[in-house]
Amino acid sequence: MAMAAVCWAVRAVRQVLPSPCPRQVRSYYVDWRMLRDVKRRKMAYEHADERLRINAIRKNSILPKELQEVADKEIAALPRDSCPVRIRNRCVLTSRPRGVKRRWRVSRIVFRHFADHAQMSGVQRAMW
């Protein structure tokens, strides 16, 4: 999510780079779904500790059950976008939800495109 993070940073705080050379800066995400995914990721990061601790209380055989039920309610009360399950590993360049290779964070079509142009480090056409 390096690209997404950079984009988010750009949208949030437009830093004036000291160098005068005009660099191509992307100021928009590919589409709204990608934006929403980014929001979810941010929220999940914020609430990650809380969720972990409440879940530790819930998934327990030592503490009393009443306490665990209370913890269940508490975690349900958290915002929906804070759970990491809602995050979808989309393609970073095309926002494609399916066919995304985890290592490169790109969809299969983009991967093929870059690999054929020899822009993927260490990637070669298979032949055996």
């Binding site: 500790d49 601790r53 009393p64």
Partner: protein
Amino acid sequence: KDKSAASKDSTHEGAAKRQEDGAETPKQQLLDIIGTMKVEVSYRKKLQQLKASESKKQAMKKLEGLGSEGSVPQGITEDTQRGKPLNPELVKAASAVASSLPHNKKQTESELLAQLRRHEETTDKQKKGGTINIRNVISEMTVKRQSPAQRGARISGRISLQLDEDGQRIRPERLSARSMESRRCCEILNIGFLFFVYRSLKVGKRLNIFTKASTEPEHALKTVSSPTIWDLEFAKEVAAVTAQPPRNGFEEMIQWTKEGILWEFPIDNEVGMEDDAEFHEHIFLEKHLEGFPREGPIRHFMELVICGLSKNPYLSVKQKVEHIEWFQKYFEEKKELLQEI
């Protein structure tokens, strides 16, 4: 050494021999000089000439010394051969060293004295400034030979430039021959130049361009306590104006590293992670469990939590302490519930 060995037999014979040697060697030296004058004056020959002239001077001094001190007793003639008396302390030291050594004592003593004499001669020469002539010669020689080497380099450079510019127009054969010749000349001249440079590094007048770095503590006690905002802004403006777009990939990567886009190589896995806490602070976390009841399921639960945290290498001590404190808060809030149970 032969002279000194001969002297130990009998001074009169030695004196006579020395006189004859003294008379012959200047003649020989003169002949050498004349012989060398005919051949092209090269650096080595000049040095030899100078050395010969100096030895001639020594021989002349010898003769003078002998002539004036012919009647002086034996013991002193050895030492005052060359007209410069050696330090009596040095003589004593030499004799002591010779006596300590197992082999021929007299021979070793005479050899040591000869060595000392040579050292004294060189020091006297340097004091009088006899070696400056060599230096001047060398410096002159280097100055003269610089220009042809440079010229050769320029010519070869021009030729190569022409090749690059025109390329196909000029016949490669013609230019290759010329360039080869010029290159050969350049090489020879460069070798000669290097030879001179090598010598001139050891010899030469001090130019006093560089001064020794002063070991005084720097006067960095300038009271620049806090750079004002205006100073910072000015610095930023200057940086923005002077910053040129990167000329090549390396400069681009440097810029990226400065901005933080690119990591610094070799990759340091602990960048940004400055955990100065000792291992015992990570592992022994029981002291943070003071706020909890001593018995009961909560204590049991918290002990498990602490066990897990002590095995966690990814969290800092602060984060672990925060973790435990959060649980403390949570259980305090739920105290009423717990008391009902």
